[in-house]
Amino acid sequence: MYNPQLTKDGKLKHLLTIEGLPRAILNQILDTAESFVGVAEREVKKVPLLRGKTVCNIFFENSTRTRTTFEIAAKRLSADVINLNVNTSSQSKGETILDTVDNLTAMHADMFVVRHAESGAAHFIASHVAPHIHVINAGDGRHAHPTQGLLDVFTIRRYKPEMHNLRVALVGDVLHSRVARSEIHALTTLGVPEVRVIAPKTLLPKDVEKLGVQVYHDMDKGLKDVDVVMMLRLQNERMSGALLPSAQEYFKCYGLTPEKLLLARPDAIVMHPGPMNRGVEIDSAVADGKQSVILPQVTYGIAVRMAVMSILAGNSE
């Protein structure tokens, strides 16, 4: 099937979603990221791979964290970085996404890092940019957040190298989560044999099992003997209403506490894409505990984003 992310000869042209990417490309990204982990520890934290290139962070939806990590990654590769927050007000002035993209193309940008509140926005932009431009999806609606998915499997690989022998549980709001979708595709593509999702029925999409996951509603059963627990963020506006009665009840049923973590394997690691709601989806004792790899995730996030950018730049025609 035609894959809009790949060049005709099968190389990565854009990174829009993990779904449909061959395992070899995922491994290439993870292996390349491995080589960038050391860069941050050097005195001069820079490599010249993107020197003379312009990376444009176009954020139609606000985000400080993700934008910052992309910015640091691009700067460590010696690229020039432009940050553009196209908030909803300038869109309501009538400029369409394509107008914005065309303007930036006219300014000779080489790479777009795009975040947008609508699923499919990154695909849409990638299908309309000039052929020399690479698009990286930094989150589109509920659809995908591929660099987050990649940095999560990178982290898992570092702590649990035997991917083909793991049980991984994702806990929380899968329905609204682009992170969950990207994590699921990354894990199944890399051959993780058992991926579980644990959530109340209101926070799971219909037919979620068709993504290749096992569904649990009871957290105690779902966490039994898992090697990795990946917590998902619960947005404030979803904590009370028709999806959930209250944050308190959610924490009681689906919050990760030290007691619940005991059900997982003793060497299990705990992950969270951030920003965390302590006391809603995760207990501070777990978040700051010795099984938590939440901060290494952030560190590796930069290496993974450097890897993606350098591979894309290397695949220019």
Binding site: I97, G120, H123, H143, P205, D207, K210
Partner: protein, 424 residues
């Protein structure tokens, strides 16, 4: 003007004709079939050798975008598209701007359409003022102005008390109520079928229950009030089962589906193809197969174009922000033929679904070739393939999920009131 159409394969589903026969037209009417009437001297002879001659198609849902949305399409562009697709009569839903809830607007639309001398236009009036679902329209006055039924287009009546009264009132006069069953709360902000594809792509889903719940309510009220109801754009297997059962119970209902839904499923959205953003959403393969079967066994009475021309800009956005709809007038015949071919449905039975069945439900004298009937005809080549190229479409809306596809069935001539209005 007298026209003699010779050597064609004449198919008139209503009168069970399917044979090579000549047909003779005079004074805008059908003057003879098989044999020429006495003293008939043709001004023009059309040689239809190797072609099908059938009644002009009747489409129950064509948005012409006038008044109010002329940047999307105009009456003239869409009526030209209609005749290019062999459609000689069409009903248009009331969701124009302003809404068709005033007799004056209906008269003006009919008048403007008539002056173009293309297809015959039959407006569906608004069932409630502004389609707001609160106050009834003057249905009797609107009928006098030319409305053939009353519809809500894509706007549901939320208040069941109003829905009940509207159906009661329409039943008083024998007017047909046209409703698309969709429960507005369950469908709120939804843009795709709630299923595998929406789970994968992260699109907000519209569950099957949005259709079946609304359908249940409508059928119930139809039973209580005795209203004649036409259900528009069914999309689910469960919905079709409910219709089948209700018909078996003798309820006075009919229903249609869009030709898009005969062929496409949620998977056609692919990588967020906004041309597949439709209302109702494209559903699962199981649903599509049930629609194909339902149209074959008569549970579904009509296939329609659900013609909804959208300007390019409104489709050039991320999927969820795009406007729903697809252009359809020029594809209805081919999509019907494609279904018939794939399901091994006899041509005559397939054409019935787009000719006399819709005419009967609209209550208009069209869609057949009876003696002295209005001479609305479509002459097409059932073997010729054509490629759907947006630029070549006459409709101002170029948005179709079928672009680039080769479809069978090329319209050669369209005649309205005995005049050739399209010739390819």
């Amino acid at each position: 003007m007298k026209i003699h159409i010779k050597n064609g394969r004449l198919i008139d589903p209503k009168h069970h004709i399917d044979a090579t026969q000549d047909i003779f037209l005079a004074a805008g009417r059908i003057a003879g079939i098989g044999e020429a009437p006495a003293n008939f001297v043709a001004n023009q002879v059309i040689d239809a050798s190797g072609l099908i001659v059938c009644p002009g198609l009747v489409d129950v849902s064509a948005r012409l975008r006038e008044p109010g949305n002329e940047y999307k399409a105009t009456l003239e562009s869409e009526m030209r598209a209609a005749v290019a697709g062999g459609i000689t009569s069409l009903a248009c839903p009331p969701d124009t701007d302003p809404v068709l809830d005033e007799p004056g607007l209906v008269e003006m639309l009919k008048h403007r359409a008539k002056q173009l001398h293309l297809s015959n236009v039959y407006p569906l009036g608004a069932l409630t003022r502004q389609l707001a679902g609160q106050q009834l329209t003057e249905m009797s006055e609107l009928t006098e102005a030319g409305c053939v039924g009353f519809a809500q287009a894509d706007r549901a009546i939320v208040d069941t008390q109003v829905l009940w009264r509207a159906m009661q009132y329409a039943a008083t006069f024998g007017f047909t109520v046209w409703l698309r069953p969709e429960e507005p709360y369950l469908a709120k902000n939804g843009i795709a079928h709630d299923g595998e594809v929406s789970a994968r792509l992260g699109l907000k889903g519209i569950p099957v229950a949005a259709e079946t719940l609304a359908l249940g309510t409508i059928l119930h009220i139809a039973r209580e009030t005795g209203a004649k109801v036409h259900l528009c754009r069914l999309s689910t297997a469960e919905g079709i089962d409910m219709i089948r059962e209700a018909k078996q119970c003798g309820l006075n209902i009919s229903c249609d589906i869009s030709a898009n839904h005969l062929h496409l499923t949620e998977h056609d959205i692919g990588f967020f193809d906004s041309n597949c953003h439709l209302k109702p959403p494209l559903r699962s393969q199981r649903d599509r197969d049930a629609l194909r079967q339902g149209l074959a066994d008569g549970t579904i009475d009509i296939a329609c174009s659900d013609h909804t021309p959208v300007d390019d800009d409104s489709k050039l956005m991320p999927f969820g922000e795009t406007e729903a709809g697809a252009t359809g007038l020029e594809l209805l015949l081919s999509l019907t033929l494609k279904w018939a071919m794939e399901q091994h449905i006899p041509l005559s039975q397939a054409l019935a679904r787009v000719t006399h069945a819709p005419a009967d439900i609209l209550g208009i004298d069209a869609g057949h070739l009876g003696l002295d009937a209005r001479a609305d005809l479509c002459i097409f080549d059932s073997d010729q393939y054509w490629k759907v190229e947006p630029k070549a479409l006459l409709s101002q809306g170029k948005n179709t999920p079928f672009q680039g596809l080769e479809l069978v069935g090329k319209v050669c001539y369209t005649l309205v009131n005995g005049q050739i209005v399209h010739e390819a």
